[in-house]
């Protein structure tokens, strides 16, 4: 069970107010301070919008993530109104979790800022704790709300979900400068994570003894459920980078379909090679071969978004496959305009 102790604060009073909360938290017994990482959560917040900084963020599972991967959470509610030149407010909170004999607490700081975007890194530098990794969770649609380079490059990792992209093309272009930055963070896309079973299945399906695939001869047909266009294009990016397709030539079609329960299906054809179909639904990826070879299935991930974000925070590995796929997509967007 999770309890939440919160207190209104001010930018200058955050440390003192947190100390008061820790004293309150330990009134009924010892509470361990749990801390694995700094997690900066970015939220768009128009200056005219009324929000309760002390209330939990409901649109994304921040509290659940913080309890799964104990982190000092810094929630930045930011709305651009640069003539307001000071943070508008702050609050502090301690989330208490664990059994009565082993209670632990994680800190959460919420800051409302309407200042210039350039001021946001100063807030993170001041509030982030040293010696632990810092991840930035961009909870907004990257294709509409471009991640601020100066902010995301402060962290070791950028977490986002391309499932929310309204415009795949713009999303890819928004990430291109981040990928190419000298201090580029590791990227963690929850949608890429959802694609893992499909990639595993296809890697297995295309491996010997089917024989080496002639990249020049492969043709793909990718069909996706409405709203999962980004998933389809991530898959295309993966193929492009793995098979070294040129930016101009895309031997693939991408279609939206509304039938069946398939999230994503891929048909792979190549001359003198077995035709392969891989279909992913909510339970598994099923691979079928034309010509009598035995099909197989790989289970999909059954996890909540909170589980997924926490797993990525724990992971901290440099995902070259995702980076290469995005880079390939960016080149394609720039050269041909698609998707």
């Amino acid at each position: 069970m999770t309890d939440r102790l919160s207190r209104a604060s001010s930018p200058a009073g955050i440390d003192d107010d947190l100390a008061v909360l820790w004293r309150d938290a330990s009134r009924d017994g010892p509470v361990a301070r749990a801390l694995m990482a700094n997690l900066v959560v970015y939220r768009d917040c128009p200056a005219t919008e009324q929000i309760d900084l002390a209330a939990p963020v409901t649109q994304v599972p921040v509290d659940e993530v913080a309890c799964r991967h104990p982190s000092r959470v810094i929630v930045l509610h930011h709305g651009g109104q640069p003539d307001l030149c000071a943070p508008m407010g702050a609050s502090v909170c301690i989330l208490l979790s664990g059994p009565p004999t082993a209670r632990f607490g994680v800190e959460q700081i919420a800051v409302r800022s309407a200042c210039a975007e350039a001021s946001l890194p100063s807030i993170v530098r001041r509030l982030a704790l040293g010696d632990i990794p810092t991840s930035v969770w961009w909870t907004e649609d990257v294709s509409r709300s471009t991640p601020l380079e100066a902010l995301v490059t402060l962290g070791r990792q950028l977490v986002y979900d391309s499932r929310h992209w309204n415009d795949v093309r713009r999303g890819v272009l928004a990430l291109a400068p981040v990928i190419g930055h000298r201090h580029a963070p590791d990227l963690a896309d929850l949608n890429w994570r959802r694609l893992t079973p499909m990639r595993q299945a296809l890697t297995q399906a295309l491996a010997p003894p089917l024989g080496p695939i002639d990249a020049r001869a492969v043709r793909l047909r990718v069909r996706h459920r409405p709203g999962d266009g980004a998933l389809a294009w991530l898959l295309i990016g993966w193929f492009t980078s793995r098979l070294d397709w040129s930016d101009a030539d895309l031997p693939a079609t991408v279609e939206e379909h509304a039938e069946e329960d398939a999230v994503l299906s891929v048909s792979i054809g190549a001359p003198e090679a077995t035709h392969i179909t891989a279909t992913m639904n909510g339970h598994h990826v099923r691979v079928e071969y034309e010509g009598g070879l035995a099909p197989f299935a790989i289970a999909t991930l059954h996890e909540t978004d909170a589980d997924a974000v926490a797993a990525e925070l724990r992971n901290l590995t440099y995902d070259t496959a995702l980076r290469d796929a995005l880079a390939a997509l960016a080149r394609r967007v720039i050269s041909s305009g698609s998707p």
């Binding site: 930018p11 801390l35 030149c85 943070p87 807030i123 001041r126 632990i132 992971n315």
Partner: protein, 268 residues
Amino acid sequence: RAGYYEQAGALRDMVQNHILQLLSLVAMEPPRSLDAEVVRDEKLEVVRSLRPIDGEAVDNQVVRAQYTAGFNLGSPAPAYRDEKGVDKASRTETYVALQVFIDNWRWAGVPFFLRTGKRLPKRASEISIHLKDIPPILFNSDPAGRLDPNVLSIRIQPDEGFALTINSKIPGPRVRIYPVKMDFRYGSTFGNISPEAYERLLLDVMAGDPTLFMRRDAVEAAWRWVMPILDRWAERQDATVPPYAAGEWGPPEANAMIESTGRRWRNV
């Protein structure tokens, strides 16, 4: 305090006294007793063992800088030259970073990195001891995922205590390493609030305990070490004093200095 600071700068204001004191406490040999003079003797030995930094070595081992306009916890912060009482053409350094060496048997070859500055993101005083890096085999073999060394950090203020950051294996069948921090805080462990720095010193004055005060010979030794740096800066009036924005951790030149040794600054 602008009038004073304009004449002093970060090197005189912080390094010659406070930072060299901290360096002495970290690097001194264990004293044979806690008698004030015995402790002060050992501290003095550290200062006397500091390798001189003079001439061109100053250009390579010392970085000074002055803050420009920036942000402090999201609020705009003016440039140093726009502060009240500061000359618009001031060249006073508000930041200094140094790479120093102690030439004695214990510390030969071990670099000490010191830095202090105004308008940095946090007000803090910390010492961090970075344990030796491990060879690039086993857990440290992947160039894309090199591990940071283990660190023992001592928080002088605020929130006195110390922490040990080590690399730990994440439970599970795969070998994945994650940095974890074991943290001790005086305040939350003993429940008392530590006295302020000057409270402690005033108490020592009343008790007649000079342990924490610099002895005359230590003051002179510290000045003898600092003066060549100031002399070099005085010679190089043509040199630009690099800028750093208020709210940042210092200028790129300071990063370049430490990164040239294969290390990087640790942010508190």
